[in-house]
């Protein structure tokens, strides 16, 4: 169905190393574009206010809330979602470690946690427990899997951290 008279622009950016082009209203949240237009469902909607971390993606390497970032602000930038960290055949050390440590309960917050952790390991490849907790502090987890996730990040760091 046509969208009537809305002004829709074309925006281009790189997602997980692939050039993408989307047509969208300029204030549409980046999260909506990633999930609904590009079919990348790792980043989740949690609060819409950038307060819970479920929707974090890397924009030019910085963990950024996709729920309150308008799509225009991502134009021309390089984005990485949790899908872009690795897959079953080439898992990121963090993904391997999260599976080894069984570091989740419901897992809704995992994608955002992985993004925060990936950003941490790029700047601090050998963090201690306190540094990991600080890096994940903007990610909320309601199930109480915090301890497991911190252990998983420490394990990933010990296993070589950021493969890139």
């Amino acid at each position: 169905m046509e969208e009537g008279f809305a002004v829709r622009e074309t925006y281009r950016f790189t997602v997980n190393g692939v050039d993408r082009e989307v047509h969208s209203e300029d204030d549409t949240p980046l999260l909506t574009v990633l999930r609904n237009d590009l079919g990348l469902t790792a980043a989740k909607f949690g609060c819409g206010l950038g307060l819970c971390g479920a929707c974090l993606v890397l924009i030019d390497g910085h963990p950024t809330s996709a729920c309150d970032t308008p799509v225009w602000a991502a134009a021309g930038r390089s984005l990485v979602t949790a899908e872009g960290l690795g897959g079953p055949d080439d898992p990121h050390s963090l993904q391997r470690a999260f599976l080894t440590e069984q570091a989740a309960q419901c897992g809704y917050c995992i994608s955002g946690v992985l993004i925060s952790a990936a950003a941490l390991l790029r700047t601090d490849p050998a963090p201690d427990e306190e540094a990991v907790a600080a890096a994940l502090d903007r990610n909320l987890c309601r199930c109480g899997a915090h301890g497991r996730m911190v252990r998983a990040v420490l394990r990933a760091a010990a296993d070589g951290g950021d493969p890139q």
């Binding site: 209203e25 206010l49 419901c106 917050c109 109480g144």
Partner: protein, 714 residues
């Protein structure tokens, strides 16, 4: 080898008695076995635990077992997934079903081979005779036998030949770690469009009018739906529907609504409101030990605020009406597909068999949240667009402001002690709104939107589950200690200005907090060590074991050093008949109450999956820590005001305690369920540690700096 023979049963396990056909539970397909259960994955890992049971009883590699999500069209009806009953109920049923199915197949192989079935072994579905010769496989034999028979409940010889998997890893985790679609929120159906519901902030306010033409400038709107005070909108795209809902919300004019109680004096409100009293226990003396009159007494009052589920995902629902008006399919992260189906049928006047509810995972569920409400929202909006699936996702604001809350509670406890400081009289009163307003309660569909329709189905005051399901207000109101004279009364409040329902552990969180805080007070008053004082009143050996083990593991006898640091202990047996749990907490109270360490010892009977139990206990302990030190639903006299993560903060990574879980395995005892055992003991252990740290008894949750100061001034 599985070293167990299914125990003789006079009757079938409860869920099997209700769904006795074997084919309802198990089916064979290519080289897999489909296992259908009525329990649902809520983020607790239950389908993994049940897959492990099925694989062990069938004698299969776990990866052969395919767990099918609950679906009213094909699954056994196991009611709701709640109350830590999934392993005890579904596990018991599945164990018997899978043993009987294996035995049918083994006997079929034995008949063909002309040998004794007890001599045969099964390894990953391959059946061999006593000499190790191949006879057949499950998948070949499946065509020769019928599973369209009822379970007999007869004891089945144990499987031989297949080693049971220890701690099967979570089946759902790879999808979640690699960001693949797994949640209902990720589900995209052909032709799916997006809906949103606009609600008043005041409960039971009526929609008077919609001012102007708010949707004139919003593109992509497909339908607006108004039915009484229910107002919703559907659009092609999700961003369009968000804009449309914001515009509609700004233009909707509401009138009336209920007045809310004073959030700073909930105890007075609860004790003054009309209520229904139930004497849970009235005991005039112990059989074995005559008790004299008390020498002195002590009493205290405790409270907890309303608590939000605060799941990390807002609730979501998808619904599609048949284009010919025949029926309805709903996708939901509900706790019970069958009760939701019945509620939707009631609210829509459809026959039961015209409604199909399919479970798809949502984010972590800790009780009756807005999952059912969101599903019904989708039903109402989808009716406007037959044939098209409509997806509704709640806002964070609605999730924290409109979903049912765990009720506020108040307790008054008093004890009379003999000359040795032992309790001889114990009186306990607890006041609370009911803990159950799930779909179908009190004759109501229990769906938020149904209360707003022109033909409205009201939301009556929440009820309590019956005692045989552990009660609600009275859950764990009975002390585990052998006090000679006891009078325990639960008062269920009969008005409900703030919507309440089940939150993990129901009344147990508050009742254990009150009882175990008070036990600590009595120990202090009488100059006893809190561990020794509890042990002196406990006779159940399993209870004594977890308390003693917690004290040992936490080095209870070592002195705590450091400014503002202290250690406290608490114990409970969940629902008086579930898991035993003792917790030692270490806190540091300088600027605020920080919980540094929790040592948790549990006895959940026979353990199915050790890591699953540890994960549930760890998670429960951290969540209970969050409830205890931070959480409180805020409201003024008209509406809930704590509707984002700043006004309803939960525990963050930098604030979580180190949690050490010790699981005492009792392979010969029935499995008791682990999901809720830690909630109450954690709260009391923290409060007791706070007292040990700073000498202040804080009896009103949460244990914030504000409450500590108020308690100092009291």
């Amino acid at each position: 080898m599985i070293d167990r023979v299914a125990a003789p049963r006079a009757t079938l396990p409860k869920d099997l008695a209700a769904n006795p056909r074997l084919a309802t539970w198990v089916g064979f397909e290519r080289d897999r076995v489909l296992v259908r259960v009525g329990k649902v994955e809520l983020g607790q890992g239950i389908l993994t635990a049940l897959a492990q049971i099925a694989a062990a009883e069938l004698g299969l590699r776990p990866d052969r077992v395919l767990m099918v999500a609950a679906d009213t069209a094909s699954s056994p009806d196991e009611g709701i997934t709640a109350g830590s009953m999934s392993v005890p109920e579904s596990g018991a049923a599945l164990r018997q079903v899978c043993a009987e199915v294996r035995w049918l197949l083994v006997r079929a192989a034995a008949r063909t081979a002309g040998c004794d079935p007890t001599e045969l072994s099964v390894a990953d579905g391959v059946i061999r005779d006593g000499g190790g010769r191949y006879l057949s496989t499950y998948w070949k034999l499946a065509a020769e036998i019928s599973l369209d028979v009822e379970a007999t409940g007869e004891p089945i010889p144990a499987a031989t030949g297949t080693a049971p998997a220890a701690d099967l890893p979570r089946l759902d985790l790879p999808d979640k770690v690699f960001g693949r679609p797994r949640f209902l929120h990720d589900l995209v159906l052909p032709g799916m469009v997006h809906g949103r519901v606009v609600r008043p902030t005041r409960r039971a306010a009526r929609l008077v009018e919609i001012a102007g033409e708010p949707l004139r400038a919003v593109s992509g709107v497909l339908a607006t739906v108004r039915d009484g005070s229910f107002l919703g909108v559907v659009a092609q795209r999700e961003d369009s529907v968000e804009r449309a809902a914001a515009a509609l919300g700004g233009a909707a004019v509401w009138r009336g609504g209920v007045e809310l109680p004073d959030e700073d004096d909930l105890t007075s409100y609860l004790r003054a409101a009309p209520s229904e009293a139930t004497v849970v226990r009235a005991r005039d003396g112990a059989d074995d030990r005559p008790a004299g009159p008390p020498m002195f007494g002590h009493s205290a009052a405790y409270s907890r605020p309303f608590l939000a589920h605060a799941s990390i995902a807002p609730s979501c629902g998808i619904a599609r009406w048949d284009p010919d008006g025949g029926g309805l399919t709903v996708w939901s992260h509900t706790q019970g597909v069958f009760p939701l189906r019945a509620a939707i049928a009631q609210a829509t006047s459809l026959p039961l068999d015209a409604v199909r509810v399919r479970h798809v995972e949502g984010a972590g569920c800790y009780g009756h949240n807005a999952a059912d409400d969101a599903a019904f929202d989708a039903v109402l909006l989808a009716r406007a667009l037959p044939g098209q699936p409509v997806r509704v996702q709640w806002s964070r604001r609605d999730e924290l402001g409109q979903a049912p809350f765990g009720p506020a509670m108040a307790a008054q406890v008093s004890a009379g002690l003999d000359g040795d400081g032992r309790v001889v009289e114990w009186t306990y009163d607890v006041w609370s709104n009911g803990h159950a307003s799930r779909p179908g309660y009190a004759g109501s569909p229990g769906l938020l939107a149904a209360a707003h329709l022109e033909r409205a189905f009201d939301l009556p005051a929440a009820v309590d589950p019956p005692p045989q399901r552990g009660g609600g207000t009275s859950r764990n109101a009975l002390p585990a200690y052998g006090f000679p004279r006891q009078r325990i009364t639960a008062h269920r409040v009969l008005t409900m200005p703030i919507r309440t329902s089940a939150l993990r552990s129901l009344g147990a969180f508050m009742n254990v907090f009150a009882i175990e805080s008070f036990m600590d007070e009595l120990a202090m008053l009488t100059g006893h060590d809190p561990v020794a004082y509890r042990l002196a009143h406990l006779t159940d050996e399993r209870a004594r074991a977890v308390v003693a083990q917690a004290a040992r593991a936490a080095s209870w006898d070592d002195t705590v050093t450091g400014e503002g640091r202290g250690r406290g202990i608490a114990f409970a047996r969940y629902k008086d008949r579930g898991a035993y749990c003792a917790v030692v907490a270490e806190v540091e109270a300088v600027q605020e109450v920080r919980v540094r360490r929790l040592v948790v010892v549990v006895d959940v009977g026979r353990v199915i999956n050790f890591d699953g139990v540890r994960n549930q206990i760890e998670g429960g302990a951290i969540q209970a820590t969050s409830w205890t030190v931070k959480e409180r639903v805020r409201f003024d006299r008209t509406a809930v005001t704590s509707t984002d993560w700043e006004s309803y903060p939960i525990l963050r990574f930098s604030e979580v305690p180190r949690v050490e879980v010790h699981v005492l395995n009792r392979p010969d005892a029935p499995s008791l369920g682990a999901g809720e055992a830690a909630q109450g003991p954690v709260a009391a252990a923290i409060a007791n540690a706070l007292f040990a740290a700073i000498g202040v008894r804080v009896r009103d949750l949460p244990l914030t700096a504000e409450r500590v100061i108020a308690a100092m001034d009291a």
